[in-house]
């Protein structure tokens, strides 16, 4: 193959319509970072293990390193930037900050997107449920305890508001 095959992808990213020609083998994670400059989505292992690239695709969390950008054609993507702007993860972010639930911060976007998904589906998750959800995400600083604390705090403060 002499020249790299390209494809036109049109999708919604954080509410905005975007269209780009991209190489067919470009991952959705690389598309978000390199083509759109949305570097909040992190790329760690690039084979679906570490969870740093977790995003929402049509409302469901997925590994963006395991999807081709071409596969997201017509889809609605939400990244950590979009969830930040909408305020959906404000309580989580505040709790992460207050509890020092990040050291190097590399896993944090994936942790936030995963935690936000848990809080959408489970009103008051137990610590065991929180650990179950974030078992999909690696923190190589190994600061899991503080992350569980922060998610628990965000869940509790949220139910307190109701």
């Amino acid at each position: 193959m002499s020249s790299e095959a390209e494809i036109l992808v049109r999708l919604t990213v954080n509410g905005a319509v975007v269209a780009r020609h991209v190489p067919v083998r470009r991952s959705l994670a690389d598309f978000l970072r390199h083509d759109l400059g949305l570097t909040g989505t992190h790329v760690g292992c690039e084979h679906g293990v570490c969870g740093a690239c977790t995003i929402r695709l049509d409302g469901e969390i997925v590994r963006s390193c395991l999807l081709l950008a071409a596969q997201a054609d017509g889809a609605a993507v939400e990244t950590v930037e979009g969830l930040t702007e909408s305020g959906e993860i404000a309580a989580l972010q505040q709790a992460f900050l207050a509890r020092n639930a990040l050291q190097c911060g590399f896993c944090t976007p994936g942790m936030l997107v995963t935690a936000a998904d848990l809080l959408r589906t489970t009103t008051t998750p137990t610590r065991e449920e929180i650990r179950g959800a974030i078992s999909a995400n690696y923190c190589r600083c190994t600061g899991y305890h503080a992350i569980v604390d922060a998610i628990e705090t965000a869940a509790t403060s949220r139910t307190g508001d109701r």
């Binding site: 193959m1 790299e4 095959a5 494809i7 067919v24 083998r25 991952s27 292992c45 690039e46 084979h47 679906g48 293990v49 969870g51 977790t54 695709l57 469901e60 969390i61 997925v62 590994r63 390193c65 395991l66 999807l67 081709l68 071409a70 596969q71 995963t114 998904d117 650990r131 179950g132 959800a133 078992s135 999909a136």
Partner: protein, 275 residues
């Protein structure tokens, strides 16, 4: 960790996908959920020249039931199977097993057909299908055939599927009201690949047939004669001696003792659960 170059095809219906596969054969790979194939491509353990993305083929999606069996389309994702009331009632073992498959974000994309076609020996769904005497439905441009699960797995990630065939679905018999099962697996961390697992499914359809499956041990999931012969009887130590020999025959390397310890422990617990 980027895949090698390939040509990308996104057929909108099954005949188009089958025509592409007939044209490209062994140079093509079929992309379903991509939760295993994309990592294999990223690590360049596979380098297909042509990638046939079947995710837009709606006729491969969904769960239907008749009087005797549930048919699950190949592209049905794990999350959908977990949410299905039909599966919960008719094939609860499948839902129980899928809770052990990786993590939520993976289950949102991974498909039952992809898992069967890949035939990873530590995967849960091939093992469940083997335990429940499922039938795999495969189609090529020439026509469709049903493959009994007992003759589907040929070896490590090798199946009965021909190069020009797409796995389009799987038929799993419905459980009888009296049916019971036990599913146990051991993984080092939640969501990790199973080190080993044991499934006991006696009398799933009401017919007194004992089926017992060991997975994560050897090249494919396999039925254990030792456990099948022992189900429903008082268990003697010689059952576990026979099981250890089966494990040793399946593994043939230095992990055999370790695997045998896990399998016998899981088998004891599974038997106790059904006692």
């Amino acid at each position: 960790m980027k895949p090698a170059r390939f040509n990308y095809h996104r057929p909108g219906n099954l005949p188009d996908a089958l025509a592409l596969l007939a044209e490209h054969g062994g140079a093509a790979r079929v992309l379903a959920g991509g939760q295993s194939l994309m990592p294999l491509m990223a690590m360049r353990l596979t380098r297909p020249e042509e990638l046939i993305d079947i995710n837009r083929i709606d006729e491969l999606k969904g769960i239907t039931a008749d009087d005797t069996a549930v048919t699950i389309g190949a592209l049905t994702r794990y999350t959908e199977i977990l949410r299905s009331e039909v599966i919960a009632a008719a094939v609860p073992l499948l839902a129980e097993a899928i809770r052990h498959v990786a993590h939520h974000a993976i289950r949102n994309r991974g498909t039952i057909g992809g898992s069967l076609a890949l035939a990873d020996p530590s995967a849960e769904t091939p093992a469940v299908c083997l335990a429940l005497a499922a039938r795999v439905i495969a189609r090529s441009a020439a026509g469709e055939r049903e493959i009994p699960i007992d003759s589907f797995f040929h070896g490590l990630m090798a199946t009965e599927l021909a190069e020009d065939e797409i796995l389009v679905g799987v038929r799993i018999p419905k459980r009888a009201a009296s049916a019971r099962h036990a599913f146990l697996e051991f993984a080092r961390r939640r969501g990790d690949f199973a080190q080993a697992g044991v499934i006991l499914a006696p009398g799933h359809t009401g017919v007194p047939e004992n089926r017992a499956v060991v997975f994560g041990v050897g090249a494919t999931a396999w039925r254990s004669s030792a456990l099948e012969g022992a189900m429903g009887r008082n268990i003697a130590d010689d059952v576990y001696a026979a099981l250890r020999l089966e494990v040793a025959a399946a593994v043939e390397d230095e992990t055999a003792d370790y695997k045998a310890r896990i399998v016998t422990t899981l088998a004891e617990r599974a038997m106790a659960r059904l006692a």
